[in-house]
């Protein structure tokens, strides 16, 4: 494939809350819940942050790092399940905020947690067909779990932006494949504030089936096996599922090390696999092979077989914050502040 990642950027809000703190409110063993999920803390957006601001911050970093003129962007897609508007695109605000308007196509994508990887595939098609010079794919969310629900211990906020192009590629996409079925494991109906899910049904018939089948399809398509990859990134609704599916497929902890970020920032939904990929690219050297397998409820998986190029050795990452900083640091807040920031307190009025 004559296309790949030219530049990237990630952004995670600064606030954090621990499962222990959440559990205290609901009379639950939060620490035990955190251990079970392998989530030590999750990110919380500030009261003035949403999918649009997170997407913009991530993309601004990507554009500066890649020294890319925003006017050369021909397509911009934002994948999220927490677009601030039901009707009015996130992508238009982001495009205007980075100076990419008006001569580009833009749209919002939604496919639970894999809308960002679907956006990358779309950009690869447009770039590969020489219809545009650069395409931008963003996966970003400010996800919410209902108060007291198991999701509340992991649902967090963050995003990553990838610029797809044909020149100065730092990670070439060799192959991309998908695996899609109608599997109702997780959903949110129109007008509902919080998502619903099928509990344990989200595991074997949903996440594990789609990720393993998609990965197997990729191995067959690319003629590869797990040992040929230096890094692997899975969608990570918690810290446990990706480790288990990785072991099932034959990957080692060392291969999964940099791609697993959820234990430290929670599940950023559409941003989860993409922030994991950004963390891998933060440390990758030329010639390293990367497998990414995203997953979105509903359900589907997108897989990418990438290899880093010599360009990554001179890629300028000085602008923006390395993903590792987001994993290591943050400002912990109590549940009351979290509830205020996330709009969980009824203030009266309209």
């Amino acid at each position: 494939m004559d296309a790949g990642i030219v530049s990237y950027g990630a952004y995670v809000p600064r606030y954090r809350i621990t499962p222990t703190e959440i559990g205290k409110v609901w009379g639950v063993d939060g620490a035990g819940m955190g251990i079970g999920l392998n989530v030590h803390r999750k990110s919380v957006p500030g009261p003035d942050e949403d999918t649009i601001t997170i997407s913009t911050e991530a993309l601004r970093v990507a554009l500066v790092r890649g020294a890319i003129d925003p006017q050369t962007i021909g397509a911009l897609y934002v994948g999220s399940e927490s677009h601030p508007y039901a009707v009015k695109p996130t992508a238009t605000v982001v495009a205007q905020a980075v100076g990419a308007t008006p001569y580009l196509t833009a749209a919002d994508f939604e496919f639970a947690c894999k809308a960002g990887t679907a956006a990358i595939q779309t950009c690869l098609g447009l770039v590969g067909a020489h219809m545009i010079q650069y395409g931008v794919a963003i996966g970003s969310d400010t996800s919410q779990g209902a108060p007291g629900d198991a999701l509340e211990y992991s649902a967090s906020a963050g995003g990553a932006a990838f610029v797809i192009g044909r020149e100065h590629i730092i990670a070439r996409v060799n192959h991309t494949v998908s695996y899609t079925t109608d599997t109702p494991d997780f959903w949110r109906r129109e007008g509902q504030r919080y998502p619903s899910h099928g509990g344990r049904f989200t595991g074997e018939p949903a996440f594990f089936r789609h990720v393993t089948e998609c990965a197997a399809h990729m191995f067959e398509t690319a003629g590869t096996s797990p040992k040929e990859y230096q890094h692997v990134v899975f969608h990570q609704p918690n810290g446990k599922f990706p480790q288990r599916v990785g072991k099932q497929l034959g990957f080692t902890d060392a291969q999964m090390k940099y791609g697993l970020v959820t234990p430290y920032i929670g599940n950023t939904y559409s941003g989860a696999a993409l922030i994991g990929l950004a963390n891998v690219l933060d440390v990758a050297k030329p010639g390293e092979r990367i497998l990414v397998v995203g997953y979105g409820s509903g359900a589907g998986s997108d897989a990418f077989d990438l290899v880093t190029t010599d360009e990554i050795a001179t890629y300028d990452r000085r602008f923006g914050v390395p993903v590792q900083e987001y994993l290591d640091h943050g400002v912990e807040i109590p549940y009351a502040v979290y509830a205020k920031f996330r709009g969980k307190i009824h203030m009266g009025g309209s």
Partner: protein
């Protein structure tokens, strides 16, 4: 609905710090002006002011800590409102986020960040624009909401302009 049109007109400067520059004396203005008041021959600048985008860099010139919030900012008190001196010349008024009020100081290096400014109720339009966030020196340590310092939390930009 009048504010929808007004905010839309102000989008270039709210989103991208779009100001203007006098072609004669090179003075930069934010918000943009149609005539240069700094030029002796200011009438000649009428209609000739050039668009100019600020870099977003700056440092805190002075600040207030707001406890009695303006409408729409109730969830953020206490918050910091600052005058930010830019290297291009203009001094901007803006909120400084991602910094605890006891950590704000005159001279603090900041950079523009993109945030929600306000919402027109639950069904209305959402307004976005610039605020400022501290530029980290190196990022280190962890903290609590009460003790957060400019060097302690991610989200602050470890920004090095190329």
């Amino acid at each position: 609905m009048t504010t929808v049109a007004r905010y839309w007109r102000e989008t270039p400067r709210r989103y991208n710090l779009g100001g203007c520059r006098c072609p004669t004396c090179r003075t930069v203005f934010f918000p943009p002006r149609s005539v240069c008041p700094a030029c002796v021959t200011h009438r000649r600048s009428f209609g000739k002011m050039e668009p100019f985008q600020l870099s977003g860099d700056g440092e805190v010139f002075s600040y207030s800590i707001v406890h009695d919030a303006a409408e729409g900012f109730e969830m953020q008190v206490p918050y910091v409102l600052a005058l930010v001196k830019t290297p291009e010349g203009p001094t901007l008024t803006g909120q400084v986020v991602d910094v605890a009020p006891d950590q704000i100081r005159i001279g603090l290096r900041v950079h523009a960040t993109f945030r929600k400014l306000r919402e027109e109720g639950r069904a209305g339009v959402i307004h976005y624009g610039y605020k400022f966030a501290p530029v980290s020196e190196p990022l280190a340590g962890t903290g609590t909401a009460e003790s957060a310092s400019p060097a302690q939390a991610p989200g602050e930009r470890g920004r090095v302009r190329a």
